[in-house]
Symmetry: D2
Subunit: 406 residues, 4 copies
């Protein structure tokens, strides 16, 4: 660690490979472990070393280390922060632990990746963003894991919108639909309690949708009108029926500073939809359509094609010309959901190596959090519009040169 | 005509075939003419005679009569109402003429079919509904032309929902997307002026969507939160740039008395969508999906199928077991958009012959109008929810036995 | 009738409207009646009069006349040929009657439309083609009813191929799949007996496929390798089990004189396919895809689009820029199966009025028949290739100017 | 190694983890390396150690080792066979090296996995199969890498067919379409020379299709009728234009001993198709449809569903109830192309650990080779049918109990 002007510990000096610690070993821990295990094979240097996985239960943590390729396991993340062979801390815990862990790790000079959503509240997210700003001044980087930014089709979509292919963007339709709560008999879990999960489909699913609005359009959300519903108000818990205190579904219209309007719907009761993040973007010159269940496809309608030939083209986003694809396989050899995490890790490593601030930043995560809060606030007021400050474009619209300012 | 208790003229005595007059000969006049020309060939009796077509311009009316199979043409609809060989008046004029024409025709003892939307305002619709009630007491029938109720796939969907195939219905997603106004250079027309068209995508497209909510669910809309936008505020008119005074797009969430929530979006700027009335219905036991651009298909997800076999089945709605299909062609020989009007005419004739009140009634048209008004009202209040009275189920949920009460 | 150089009766002098007689009143009689009833409304002049429908059973013929809009009915087609108010004879009978009827009608100076396939044998088709040639010399026109040439998407496909959009055409994949014989319990009918039906899926379905090869490519089929199968060799007839003497399915590869190769498959046992005429055409510059069950769509892949944007565009073939569409409805208002017959009638009338020879001609029908015969011959030789003479391009590749040569 | 009755070296004694050597480090070497790197993380024990990667060029081999996670690299595979810490040899070289390498490795007591197709000729495949039989007697296992057997949707399809869900299977339609040779300017490579590649689309693509016929149906192919074409007979090589001596496309019909017929088409000139292995299976009770470009989906039509509800269900094959899925992610979190190799490695390891003979065996690979040879032979005889001996069902139809016979 090196002393910096800000008085904080700077990033650990990089001796290749970068040492990684992951905190958490369930669903997200498994997905992130997979990313660290494979990132070098596909994206080359900087190489990483899977140093340690952290979990509360020593036996399960050891088993996870063994299975997922980590050299060691541990139960106390604080001790991990003291190790000089750890350069990156990857936080895959439940949301209520994000803030404490992330701030401590940044202050210890570790680069930090945090699973989405950034936090359970705006206040926590603000704290984390402030810590990230201070750390960045010393060269310590941070990122929030909105992994769908690394879906090649969505990165392609963003490039097309930025390049003007859609002309003036007017309407976005975004739905994120799953169905694992459609069955009334699905049991109570921590995800259905407000105190542990913060919210329901809102934080879990709509957060991705809101981040995509920022990512795809580069615009700011200036106003929100929303509704929340809980279709199944009570579910069977470990000790009998228990009230569900989060939303099953959310609806919102979002006003963008560009004049465009977004309709957003998220639900975990949409029978037959398994992981359907569906995005449609309509502009004056063309439109785009995407469904996460068909992750390799992007549909593009070019309104400037000859009249008789206009139609939505199903682009199989597996060509070398498409973002991220060249690292993987030849055309037509499709990618899956987990590849997005590997590409995310690669982007994070590349930013660290290049001294650039990675995206999406904690500030981007905070921007999402503010929209989620506005949605809850509007829903509480029966749909009446709630305004949001125009805070300058989120970092997703910044240029790569941003990093050079350091 | 026979005197009735209500003092009004009763329906003209039926001497087969029923004589029809249509008022209007542009887009809708052509579509309705097609229906009257073909209804007997597919649905049998009662036979109809295409007596007369009415239009303002004598030359164009005569040409339309010649082309579309009408025996005569006329320019004054009032004189038509006096003819005893006319039993049905079919109104295909612009909306502002609906009320005057329909009330006069009903009072003259003619059965009346009115193109949707029923009227340009709630007040007009109320007037018409009252007239329809009086006429019905004397056996004179009326109907509003929400032709999509006769799409076999949607009639099948309604039957499945009513039969419990979806279980408890929770979410509907309805979008009606077209793109003929996406091009900024599309010229000013009467459809873009509030004084002539009443509203934009709202009355033109969302009216169909709202009627489908009533039709498919049999439930009442009790509250509305909405937004309207006009993306292109000025267009080139015959004498230079002119302000557009109607909406280009509308978004709403509708609360149903059943507890279900509907998201609704309609736009005439959705580049690449030509006539996409898209409906998704999610229930506890299954879900349905429909797109008017693929009018012969209905997708049904059965959540009670064996786990490994669950998937949305693409039902080609061309089997004899499906509504309306038996009148047409063998399986796989698909129908088009215009067939819905022929089936609509058949339903109207069948109700008249059977002494039943046809659906959707003027009261159903009025129910739609009230929702459209609530949408405008909520949009004017920046999305704040606007309530609607629970007025008893619209006729669409009534049983066929309703007619027998007479 | 006027005397002509060939000594045959010339076409009846046209006094508007043209009088039409249809022979046959079951499935095809209903479809053709629909076409004659509507053709003037959509395509304008020349107007037609539905004079008479002919059937063996007087009661059923009279009922069909009443229902389908014909002025009269008759049981003896020979007497119809003598009437001077009949200008067009439309033959919708089973195949074994085509030749006798068509030749007699042509010799009586009537324009003749014959349902596909032209005949049950090459010999009959040759006879008919010779008669058609003689009649044409005197201005009497003839056409065979391959109605799918009037599917807007397929006419659009043909224009694109002819215009070079696909570059050098290399492979066609054509399947025509139905499933009404998949159930072993489906009963014996005349369609499953060789003496009445000629063949099975071959004549019924593959004939359309072969005509599309001619229509879409303008090339000649020079060689055939094929196989036939009957999966259910016996079915329950009116008096017990009976052998099925036609094919349930056919497979063939066709060599074109252009160097392209066509794979063809037709079946009436393809469970789940209702009327799936599926066509794929692959060329050096692009490809096309079509499915009759989605009759309004054509998928076009443009290999010359920018790399990252290449994808098969789903063209909704409902624009004024597309063939036939302008006669019907606005964009997105889809057509069905029966509209192809109306457009076919319009093309026939237009050719008669313009003194052009309509397409597909009897010679085109004969060309199809020869390919079907070669398929049977190859199948009998266990797949060994059977050659076909290059007979010059079928008329489908001729220019419209052909008519002017008269 | 232990001596066995057959006098061959038996399998190396297993001391966990199993040591793996891979030969080859280009496309397939990368894909197989990925499998070995990840198999333990998803499928658990037996664990494997990535010992060594072998390649001709020492520098490139070392780089591959570094990148893909191998402990060492080497240039001489013969020396690798002598190492006692290597238990598995995975052959990813061009086809002409398969036989020599595989036989030597088996004789050295190594378990062997060979990329498909098994060999470049029937003679080589026979040699390899004999060696595999001898080795198996001593407990040394072998497998050929038809990785698409591990696509969850195809494994699910096989289970459904075996379980009778399709009833009597009648028709299969299989196409494997790519387009990387559609452009006439695509350069000459070793894949387009007969001496190096054996054949073109036939060995490269049709081999997968033929293996799927065996895998899905468990039936034997008893006869073949086929055609081959080379659309672009000359391409630009390193020293000027060179003749292409392999096929661009192949068409065949295959007769199964069950009575079913398969149509097969493979092409590398099918513009717009990137990796489209498309399979349709039609039976008396239902049908299935699959496209490798949508690797997570299987479409199932159940002909025994109620009439009005029949339709092809799009099954998203990502449920725990589906084959292989449980090892990966929750429902809707889709897999990609490379996951099939990881599952293939898992199956291989599980068979080794359980003392069962893995599938597809070299005998299965030989069976495919014989069909490919018959296709070439039929094509050389202009499509005349070529018979194949019924050799008993390939191992793919054997039960798991097969392994117990040891």
């Amino acid at each position: 660690m090196t002393a910096t002007a800000s008085g904080q510990a700077g990033p650990a000096a990089i001796t290749a490979p970068l040492g990684v610690a992951v905190v958490g070993h369930s669903f997200m821990g498994k997905a992130h472990s997979n990313a660290w295990r494979n990132v070098s094979a596909f994206y080359g240097s900087p190489a990483v070393a899977q140093r340690i996985i952290v979990g509360r239960d020593p036996g399960r943590a050891a088993a996870a280390a063994d299975r997922y390729g980590w050299a060691e396991s541990a139960t106390d993340w604080r001790r991990v922060l003291g190790r000089t062979d750890i350069h990156i801390v990857d936080i895959c815990t439940p949301g209520q632990l994000h803030a404490g862990l992330a701030v401590a790790a940044l202050e210890a000079g570790k680069h930090v990746l945090v699973e989405k959503p950034l936090a359970n509240s705006v206040a926590e997210a603000e704290l984390m963003t402030a810590a990230a700003e201070r750390a960045a001044a010393g060269g310590t980087m941070s990122m929030v894991g909105f992994n769908y930014r690394r879906v090649p089709a969505l990165a392609q979509a963003r490039a097309m919108i930025a390049g003007g292919r859609l002309g003036e963007l007017r309407q976005l339709r975004i739905a994120y639909l799953q169905d694992w709560l459609a069955d009334r008999a699905a049991p109570m879990t921590w995800r259905l309690r407000r105190e542990t999960a913060g919210s329901g489909a809102l934080g879990d699913l709509a957060s991705h949708a809101v981040d995509q609005v920022h990512f795809l359009t580069g615009a700011c959300i200036t106003g929100v009108s929303a509704r929340l519903s809980t279709f199944v108000p009570e579910r069977e818990g470990p000790s009998g029926p228990e009230p569900v205190t989060v939303d099953d579904a959310v609806w919102a219209t979002l006003q963008l500073d560009s004049g465009a309007v977004v309709s957003l719907e998220a639900s975990r009761c949409a029978t037959g939809r398994k992981n359907a993040l569906q995005i449609e973007a309509y502009g004056s010159r063309g439109s785009l359509r995407f469904d996460l269940e068909r992750i390799n496809e992007l549909h593009f309608y070019d309104a400037e094609a000859p009249d008789a030939l206009q139609g939505a083209a199903r682009i199989l986003v597996t060509e070398p010309a498409h973002p991220y694809v060249e690292a993987w396989w030849p055309p037509g050899h499709v990618l899956g959901w987990d590849h997005t995490f590997t590409s995310q890790a690669a982007d994070f490593l590349s930013a660290i190596a290049g001294g650039r601030r990675p995206e999406p930043s904690f500030a981007d995560g905070l921007a999402v959090q503010r929209v989620l809060a506005a949605i809850e606030s509007s829903a509480a007021k029966d749909g009446a519009a709630v305004g949001l400050p125009v805070s300058g474009p989120p970092s997703s619209s910044s240029t790569e040169a941003a990093g050079e300012a350091r």
